[in-house]
Amino acid sequence: MSAPTLASFDATAAWQLSEQVSLRDESFGALAYHHGNRRLVFLKSRELVEVVRALSGHESARATVAALVPELQRSNYEAALASLAVSDVLNVR
């Protein structure tokens, strides 16, 4: 499956951290490295890192965000997940 565009990100799908990606905690959040395309991606908050790690335990990206993020911030988190999906850090499981 090809990577989605920002607009086509499906938050109702079941997403996970790509098996090709290593995630390393840092003081500002985490660094993600994609071993396939050799891209380095910066996750700029620890809360976002928690959400990413929790993805595989929920039925959808939206459900993950709903479980971990206060209501007012949820759209921001979905947008962040969308950009991670675009860079292949996340894929549909």
Binding site: S22, E26, F28, Y33, H35, V41, F42, K44
Partner: protein
């Protein structure tokens, strides 16, 4: 990717582990390039043993360092070269290695092509034999091209052609691009540093200010050309080049040399920038606790560059380039795009240039092509 300013500030305060760790496997080399950063030639008798090298990879994996850049010397000269890189890949540590290509025959090329998570950089210093051999030695260009042919024939996939930008090679940018396209390869350009033996040739070989300007605009049009963040000093000209655009020494990068010494970056193999040795307490301890690295992670003193409107773009440039041309670390980069570095160099009444501490150059020079 271009990091935003706050993220760059975080990077300058250091990371839990390096993003980019260079490990020179050996000081032994079958070539004697005039600009060698590590003054390589002869093996050092104290180089890490195979068990030590494998142990280091285990530690690198535990620190979640995503990939390592392997160099030398000529890394493929080590008899345990494949054992080392296969161990890394098995531990999910990606390997990028730089080679002169002389050891990549058809059999070796097929073995390399069978591996995952492996990037290969083949070095040339000109788009033709005459230009390249002048720096790397007679016959080396053809040998590198044979290695590229062998990788292509073995269906290795996309390898990288790595070129140091000199006054001569910078005139051949389009030819390098063409060469890379012909192989389906990526082009990687890096900056000539006055480090190692490079100190002897830097004055004659570093690009002129006009050439650096031309290079900047050429790179700006070609974000797919890799630079290893080499040219961030040129970002003072305007739009930042692709990359983090900061000096990562001791903050996001460092170097482990063949005897286990840890230096702040690959371009400062000198006692002044020695953080420690991995044989004492391991690499993590050096990375985390070294006094040198801790001081590099403190907010920098912009020095003479503080009043320049472009300081945010270039951060004063490359520490190694300053140090080995005899400038203070608070001086502008010797190749400052506005010429402030040239002024600072000219103002020095006496130039005292530090020489690299360990020198593994062969005592008898191999015969180099002089064109």
């Amino acid at each position: 990717m271009s990091a935003d300013v706050t993220l760059r500030d975080r990077f300058e305060r250091g990371l839990a582990a390096p993003i980019c760790l260079t490990w020179e496997l050996t000081y032994a080399c079958n070539l004697a390039c005039t600009h060698c950063l590590s003054s390589s030639g002869r093996r050092d008798p104290k180089e890490l043993t195979t068990p030590e090298a494998l142990g280091l990879i285990d530690e690198i994996a535990a620190m979640q360092i995503f990939y390592i850049n392997i160099g030398g010397g000529e890394p493929m000269i080590r008899s345990d070269f494949f054992q080392i890189i296969e161990h890394a890949v098995d531990r999910h540590v990606g390997v990028k290695f730089s080679t002169n290509g002389t050891r990549i025959d058809p059999v070796v090329a097929r073995r390399l092509a069978a591996m995952d998570y492996l990037d290969i950089q083949i070095s040339i210093d000109g788009a033709d034999a005459a230009t390249s051999d002048k720096i790397r030695g007679l016959g080396t260009y053809d040998q590198a091209r044979r290695a590229m042919d062998n990788l292509k024939d073995a269906n290795f996939g996309q390898f990288k052609i790595s070129v140091v930008m000199t006054r001569d090679s910078v005139e051949q940018l389009d030819a390098f691009e063409e060469l890379a396209r012909g192989y389906g390869a990526e082009l990687r350009l890096t900056r000539l540093r006055p480090s190692g033996r490079g100190v002897d040739v830097w004055d004659q070989l570093h690009p002129t200010r006009q050439q650096n300007r031309d290079l900047y605009y050429w790179l700006l049009d070609r974000p797919n050309v890799l630079t290893g963040d080499s040219f961030f000093h040129l970002s003072a000209l305007g739009t930042p080049l692709d990359g983090l655009n900061l000096c990562g020494a001791g903050r996001v990068v460092c170097l482990i040399d063949p005897v286990g010494n840890v230096y702040a970056c690959p371009f400062v193999i000198h006692d002044e920038f020695l953080a420690g040795n991995i044989r004492a307490a391991g690499f993590d301890a050096v990375w985390t606790n070294s006094e040198l690295f801790r001081s590099l992670r403190e907010p920098g003193n912009p020095g003479a560059c503080g009043s320049c409107g472009s300081y945010d773009a270039c951060r004063g440039g490359c520490m190694a380039a300053k140090f080995f041309t005899g400038l203070e670390l608070t001086d502008p980069d010797p190749e400052c795009v506005f010429g402030h570095g040239e002024t600072a160099l000219a103002a020095k009444r006496v130039e005292i240039r530090p020489t690299p501490s360990p020198d593994h150059s062969r005592r008898t020079k191999v015969i180099l092509g002089t064109r």
